[in-house]
C-alpha cells in the first residue's frame, strides 16, 4: 500500500468517526433540549404568538445545535489527534492542495445556503401564519385574524360589542404617555384604565399609539411588541391561550422615568373578564363621559401646559388636523 493510499484511508476514517460522533451528539442534544428545555423557554405559552415564538426559538436551537457541536467536536478532535507534538502526525498542508477539495467546498456552500434559505422561508411563513407574530403592523395590517376588520370598524364607530363565547376580536387601545401606559376598551363604552385585563381564548387587536414621544409597548409574556408613535395607530394581534399574569414594559428610551414605565396585566377567564369590564365601565362612567370619542390617534399639543390635549375650541392645537374628536362636552 502506498503512502498516498494510507493517507486517504486515514482521512476517511477520521471523517467517518467525526461524522458518527457528530450525529450522535446532535441527536442526543436536540432530543434532550426539545423535551427537557424547550417547553420552559421564554416567553412561555400564554398566547398564540408566545407559543409560536417559543416554538420558533426551539426550532432555531435544533438547527443551531448541530452546527455548534460540530465546530466544538472538530476543534477537540483536532487538538487530540492532530496536535503537532504528537508522533506520526504529518506536517499541516495548506496552499493549492487544500484548495483542491472541491467536494468539501461545494458541500459547505450548499449546506450553509440551504440552511440559511430554509430559515428565511421558515421565518417568513411564521410571520404570515402568526398574523404578524405579535409585532406592530402599522395602521393597515397586512395579516390579521378573521373578524378583525369588523371589530375595529365597529370600535371606531362606537358600536363594537364583545361577549363570552362570541369568538369576536376584542380591540384594546394602548395609549402611551410619559411615563405610563393606559388602556381604552372601545367595546365597553370606551372607558380608560391603567390596568390591562384580557379575556382568555380571545383574539386581541392592540391599537397602540402615543400622546407624546415614541414609546414601545412590550408585553413580553404575550409576545406582543409594537412601537407607540404619536399620531400613528400601530396594530398588533395575538390570541390569549392561558390564564395568568404578565408584565408590560416600555422598550423605547423615553425620558427620565422610562425605567418606571411598566405595569402588570392579567388574562382572566372570559366570564371573569366580562365581570371586570362591566364593573369598571360602570365605575368609570363619570370620567368616561369627559373623554373624547374613541379614535385611533390623538393630537399632541407641543405647548404642553399651555394647551390641552383634547381641543376644546379655545386652544391652539399642534396639528392642523384633529383626529381625535372635536369639541368636548361642556
Amino acid at each position: 500500500m502506498t503512502t498516498s493510499q494510507n493517507s486517504t484511508s486515514n482521512d476517511v476514517n477520521h471523517l467517518r468517526r467525526i461524522t458518527l460522533i457528530w450525529i450522535v451528539l446532535s441527536i442526543v442534544g436536540d432530543l434532550l433540549y426539545w423535551f427537557l428545555v424547550g417547553p420552559h423557554v421564554p416567553p412561555g405559552r400564554m398566547t398564540s404568538t408566545a407559543k409560536a415564538n417559543q416554538f420558533d426559538f426551539n426550532v432555531l436551537f435544533l438547527v443551531a445545535w448541530p452546527v455548534l457541536i460540530g465546530i466544538w467536536e472538530y476543534m477537540l478532535y483536532a487538538v487530540l489527534n492532530w496536535r503537532s507534538g504528537k508522533a506520526g502526525v504529518p506536517e499541516s498542508v495548506g496552499g493549492p492542495k487544500a484548495a483542491e477539495n472541491r467536494k468539501l467546498q461545494v458541500s459547505w456552500i450548499t449546506i450553509t445556503t440551504v440552511v440559511v434559505l430554509l430559515l428565511a422561508v421558515y421565518g417568513t411563513v411564521e410571520v404570515v401564519v402568526g398574523k404578524g407574530s405579535g409585532g406592530g403592523e402599522g395602521p393597515n395590517p397586512i395579516w390579521q385574524p378573521a373578524g378583525a376588520v369588523k371589530a375595529e370598524t365597529a370600535a371606531l364607530a362606537g358600536s363594537g360589542t364583545w361577549a363570552p363565547n362570541s369568538n369576536d376580536v376584542l380591540p384594546v387601545q394602548v395609549i402611551a404617555q410619559q411615563w405610563k401606559f393606559t388602556y381604552r376598551y372601545p367595546t365597553f363604552g370606551g372607558f380608560e384604565s391603567p390596568e390591562l385585563i384580557l379575556p382568555n381564548n380571545t383574539n386581541i387587536a392592540f391599537d397602540v399609539t402615543s400622546l407624546d414621544v415614541i414609546h414601545s409597548f412590550w408585553a413580553y409574556q404575550l409576545e406582543v411588541k409594537a412601537d407607540a408613535n404619536p399620531m400613528e395607530n400601530n396594530v398588533a394581534f395575538t390570541k390569549t391561550e392561558q390564564l395568568g399574569s404578565f408584565e408590560v414594559r416600555c422598550s423605547e428610551l423615553c425620558g427620565i422615568w422610562h425605567g418606571a414605565m411598566f405595569n402588570s396585566g392579567s388574562v382572566l377567564s372570559q366570564s371573569a373578564f366580562m365581570a371586570w369590564a362591566t364593573k369598571t365601565e360602570a365605575a368609570n362612567a363619570q370620567n368616561t363621559q369627559y373623554l373624547p370619542p374613541f379614535a385611533w390617534t390623538y393630537t399632541p399639543d407641543a405647548n404642553g401646559a399651555s394647551g390641552g390635549y383634547y381641543p376644546d375650541g379655545n386652544l391652539t392645537p399642534y396639528s392642523a388636523v384633529e383626529t381625535y374628536g372635536s369639541k368636548q362636552p361642556s
Partner: protein, 227 residues
C-alpha cells in the same frame, strides 16, 4: 529599587485595587437612601398614620431654574418647606396627604388623570369637598397630578384661576390663591418607587415634558418605603 521594595509596591497597589473593587461592589449592593431624603419614618410612633404635606408652585423662584414649576415638601420635624422630592415613608402605613396647589391649570392631555385613583375610598377632597373625578375641560382645569404609578395612586391637582396673581416664589403663603386637596393612601411593602406629575407642565419645552418634568427634584421624585 530593591527586590523587597518592588514586592512592597506591587503588594500595595494590589491591595488598593482590591479595596476599590470591594468598595465598588459594596456601594452597588447597598444603595441606601440618597442624601437629602426627607424622612417621614421617625416623625411619629411606629404604625401611626403619617402626615405628608406638599405644595405645588408655578415658578419656584429660586435656585438654578427659578421659572420652573415644582413640588415642595414640608419637613415633618421642623415644619420648614424643602425643595426635595425624595421621601422615605414607613411600609404598610396610612399616609394622610395634604397638597397646597398654587398653580393654574388647563385641560388634561389625558382626562384619565382627572380621576382619583388608589386613595382610601377612591376619593379626595378639594377645599373640603369630596370628589372622585374632576372634569379638566371645565373650570380652571387641572394643574398637576400627584401619582405613584406602582401604588396605582393618582390624584388630580385642580388649578387656581390663571388670571389671579399667583405665587411666584416658593414657599408660598396660604394668602396666595390656592386649592387645598387632601387624600389618604396606604404604603405597600418596602421598596423603591417613583412618583411623578402626569400633566406635561414644563412650560416652554416640547410637549411640556422636558425641563422640570425631566429633572429630579421638581415634578417627580423617589419614594423609599422602608420597614
Amino acid at each position: 529599587m530593591t527586590k523587597g521594595g518592588r514586592l512592597g509596591t506591587v503588594l500595595g497597589l494590589f491591595l488598593v485595587a482590591v479595596g476599590l473593587v470591594v468598595w465598588a461592589v459594596a456601594s452597588f449592593l447597598t444603595p441606601g437612601v440618597p442624601g437629602g431624603v426627607v424622612n417621614f419614618v421617625n416623625a411619629q410612633a411606629k404604625g401611626q398614620p403619617v402626615n405628608l404635606t406638599v405644595e405645588t408652585v408655578g415658578s419656584i423662584g429660586f435656585g438654578a431654574h427659578p421659572t420652573w414649576v415644582s413640588y415642595l415638601v414640608k419637613n415633618p420635624t421642623t415644619g420648614k418647606w424643602l425643595h426635595d422630592t425624595s421621601w422615605q415613608l414607613p411600609a404598610h402605613t396610612l399616609i394622610h396627604m395634604t397638597v397646597y396647589q398654587y398653580d393654574s391649570g388647563s385641560p388634561l392631555r389625558n382626562q384619565e388623570w382627572g380621576q382619583v385613583q388608589g386613595t382610601v375610598g377612591g376619593t379626595a377632597t378639594l377645599n373640603g369637598k369630596t370628589f372622585s373625578v374632576y372634569n379638566s375641560n371645565t373650570g380652571n382645569g387641572v394643574g398637576h397630578t400627584f401619582a405613584i404609578p406602582q401604588f396605582n395612586l393618582s390624584v388630580p391637582m385642580v388649578g387656581v384661576i390663571g388670571s389671579a396673581t399667583l405665587c411666584g416664589v416658593a414657599p408660598c403663603h396660604t394668602s396666595a390663591p390656592h386649592n387645598t386637596e387632601t387624600f389618604s393612601f396606604m404604603t405597600p411593602g418596602p421598596g423603591s418607587y417613583n412618583w411623578q406629575c402626569f400633566v406635561p407642565c414644563a412650560l416652554g419645552y416640547l410637549y411640556g415634558n422636558g425641563g422640570a418634568m425631566s429633572t429630579q427634584n421638581y415634578m417627580g421624585g423617589e419614594v423609599e418605603v422602608v420597614q
